[in-house]
C-alpha cells in the first residue's frame, strides 16, 4: 500500500523529531534547552505537514502547506524571540535581586543568615557554597518554594 517516497520519509522523520524533542522538552530543566526543543518540535510538525500533504498529491509540491509552514516559521521565531527577551529580563532581575539580597545580608547579623542557610538546606540539601545568594534567588523565583517568606 505504501511505497517509499521522499515526502513520506520526511514526514516520518518529522514524527520522530516531534517525539524526540517532546522528550527533551519535558526532561530538560534549562530554559534555553526547552526553547531549542520547542523549535525542533516545530520543525518536526512542519515536516509532517508538508510531507504528509504531498504524499496525497503524488509527490508534487503543494503550495498550501508550504505557505502554512512559512507562516509557522515566522510565528515560531516570534515566540522564540519573545521567550528570549523574557528570559533575559528575568535573568537581569535575578542578578539584581541576588545583589540586593547580598547587600542586605552583609548588613544583617548572623542569625538571619542562619535562617537563610536553613531555608537553603531544606531546598537543595547541598550546594552550600553559594547558598545565601542562591536561596534568596530561588525563594523569589519559585513562589511555591517560599515556605517561610522572605528571610529578611
Amino acid at each position: 500500500m505504501i511505497s517509499f517516497s521522499v515526502d513520506f520519509w520526511y514526514a516520518g522523520i518529522g514524527a520522530a523529531l516531534i517525539a524526540l524533542s517532546l522528550l527533551a522538552f519535558l526532561l530538560s530543566k534549562r530554559l534555553l534547552k526547552k526553547l531549542l526543543a520547542f523549535n525542533i518540535m516545530g520543525s518536526g510538525v512542519f515536516l509532517m505537514m508538508v510531507g504528509m500533504a504531498q504524499t496525497q498529491n503524488d509527490g508534487a509540491a503543494d503550495a498550501v502547506p508550504q505557505a502554512l509552514v512559512l507562516t509557522g516559521i515566522v510565528v515560531a521565531v516570534s515566540a522564540t524571540a519573545l521567550a528570549l527577551v523574557v528570559i533575559r529580563r528575568f535573568a537581569l532581575a535575578s542578578v539584581v535581586a541576588a545583589l540586593a539580597a547580598e547587600n542586605k545580608a552583609a548588613e544583617n547579623d548572623a542569625a538571619e543568615n542562619d535562617a537563610a542557610e536553613k531555608n537553603g538546606a531544606e531546598r537543595t540539601g547541598s550546594d552550600t557554597a553559594v547558598s545565601d545568594t542562591t536561596v534568596t534567588d530561588t525563594a523569589l523565583t519559585d513562589p511555591n518554594l517560599n515556605k517561610n517568606g522572605d528571610p529578611q
Binding site: 526553547l35 531549542l36 519573545l82
Partner: protein, 389 residues
C-alpha cells in the same frame, strides 16, 4: 538519491539528539544551527525552496544568532561582588514546574527515574501514534493544489506560495504580522534604559554592577577591528541588495517578504555585531517603522470595503501591484522588527545612551522595581505571587 534522503533524515535526528544531549549550551546551540542547515536541505528535497530559504535565514540564521547572543548575556561575567556563579547556571537550573521541583526536593532520585520513565513512555506513545496516523491515513477527498492552480490566474501573482500567503489566505498572514508586532512590543516594553533615574534606583552601585554584569560580550572586540569593519562595510550593501532581489523575485519564483525581511534584519545584525551602533534614537520613528507594514496591509485590506468589496479582496487588475506594495512595506517592517528584537533585548549592555534619554521618565518606575525595593504602588504582583501551594 534515496540514499541521500536516508542519510539526511538520520543526520537530522542525530543533530537533534546532539542538541538535546550536549550538556554545554553553546554546543547545543551550534548543533541547533547545524540542524537548521540540514532542515533547509530537506526542504529542498521536498520541493520547497521557499521554506529552505526561510529556514536558512530565519530558522537557523536569526534564531541561532538570537540564542547565542542570549547565551553570551546570560553567561556574562560574575557580578561586581564577584561571588555569584554565572547567571545561566544559577537561573536556568532552577526552572522547572512546581510539581517536578517539589518531587525532586522531597523524594530525590527515585522520583526522578520515575519521571524519566513516564516521559519516555509518553514520547514513545506519541511516536507510535504519529507513525500510525501517517501509515493509516485515508485517501484525501479534497484536492486543494488543483484549486490553487485554478485560482492563480485571478490572484495577480504567479508564484503559488506567494499567492496563497498574500491572496488566498492573506488573513493568516495579516494575523501573523500581528504576532510579530506583539513580540516586538513586548520586547520594547521589557528593554532597560541604561542611565536610570537616581531617585528611583536606591543604589547606583547596583546599577553599575548590573551594567558590569551585562556588558555585551560580542561587541567588545568587534568594534575596533579594521578588517571586520572593512568586510562588513562591503558585505552589508550586498545583503541589502540580495534582500531586495528576493522580495522582487517573490512574485514569480521562490522568495517574498519574510525571507527578504530576514535578510535585512541579518544585515542589521551583522552591523551590530561588527560594532556599529544602530540603536534607534527616535522612539516614535522606530514605532512607526515597526507598524508600517501592518498598517499598510490593514489599510489596503479594509479600504477596499468602501468600494463594496469584501475584506482583504483586491480590486480587479490591482492585485499584483497592491501585493507587491504590501510586501515591500512588510519587508521593511519585518526586517526592523527582527532586528529590534535582537538589538533591544534587555541586558544588551552595548548601547550606551541611545534609548535612555527618551524613556527614562516613563520607565523609571520599572527600574526601581527591579531591585525589589522600588517604590511600587501597593498590591503589586509580587505580593500576590508568594503563595503557599
Amino acid at each position: 538519491m534515496i540514499a541521500f534522503d536516508i542519510l539526511l533524515g538520520l543526520g537530522m535526528l542525530l543533530a537533534a539528539a546532539g542538541v538535546f544531549w550536549s550538556a554545554d549550551l553553546f554546543r547545543a546551540i551550534v548543533m541547533f544551527v547545524v540542524f537548521g542547515v540540514l532542515l533547509a536541505l530537506a526542504w529542498l528535497r521536498l520541493q520547497a525552496p521557499d521554506l529552505a530559504l526561510a529556514e536558512a535565514a530565519i530558522g537557523a540564521g536569526l534564531t541561532g544568532v538570537l540564542l547565542l547572543d542570549t547565551l553570551s548575556v546570560l553567561r556574562a561575567k560574575k557580578t561586581a561582588a564577584g561571588k555569584l556563579p554565572p547567571v545561566d547556571q544559577q537561573l536556568l537550573n532552577t526552572f522547572t514546574s512546581t510539581r517536578a521541583c517539589a518531587a525532586q526536593n522531597n523524594h530525590g532520585k527515585g522520583h526522578e527515574n520515575l519521571r524519566f520513565l513516564a516521559v519516555g513512555l509518553l514520547s514513545l506513545g506519541i511516536l507510535i501514534a504519529l507513525q500510525a496516523a501517517l501509515f493509516m491515513r485515508p485517501e484525501a477527498a479534497v484536492n486543494l493544489p488543483s484549486m490553487v492552480a485554478e485560482g492563480i490566474p485571478d490572484a495577480g501573482i504567479e508564484h503559488p506560495i506567494t499567492a496563497v500567503l498574500l491572496n488566498f489566505r492573506s488573513y493568516d498572514t495579516l494575523l501573523e504580522v500581528a504576532v510579530l508586532l506583539v513580540a516586538v512590543i513586548i520586547g520594547l516594553s521589557l528593554r532597560i534604559p541604561s542611565n536610570s533615574n537616581e531617585q528611583q534606583a536606591p543604589s547606583s552601585a547596583l546599577i553599575g554592577a548590573r551594567q558590569a554584569a551585562y556588558a555585551g560580550v560580542i561587541s567588545e572586540d568587534g568594534g575596533n577591528d579594521p578588517i571586520l569593519r572593512n568586510f562588513t562595510q562591503r558585505l552589508i550593501p550586498l545583503v541589502l541588495v540580495t534582500g531586495g532581489y528576493i522580495l522582487w523575485a517573490g512574485s514569480t519564483m521562490p522568495g517574498g517578504a519574510f525571507q527578504a525581511g530576514a535578510l535585512i534584519a541579518a544585515a542589521g545584525v551583522i552591523a551590530r555585531l561588527a560594532g556599529y551602533n544602530i540603536a534607534s534614537r527616535v522612539d516614535q520613528l522606530l514605532r512607526f517603522g515597526l507598524v508600517l507594514g501592518f498598517l499598510v496591509f490593514l489599510t489596503v485590506a479594509a479600504s477596499v470595503m468602501f468600494g463594496g468589496r469584501p475584506f482583504l479582496n483586491y480590486p480587479d487588475g490591482w492585485a499584483g501591484s497592491l501585493i507587491f506594495f504590501i510586501e515591500a512595506m512588510l519587508t521593511f517592517s519585518i526586517g526592523l522588527t527582527l532586528l529590534s528584537l535582537f538589538v533591544h533585548s534587555p541586558g544588551d549592555g552595548a548601547e550606551p545612551n541611545a534609548k535612555s534619554s527618551q524613556r527614562s521618565v516613563k520607565s523609571g518606575s520599572t527600574v526601581g522595581s527591579d531591585n525589589g525595593v522600588g517604590n511600587r504602588p501597593p498590591g503589586n504582583s509580587g505580593k500576590a505571587e508568594a503563595d503557599h501551594d
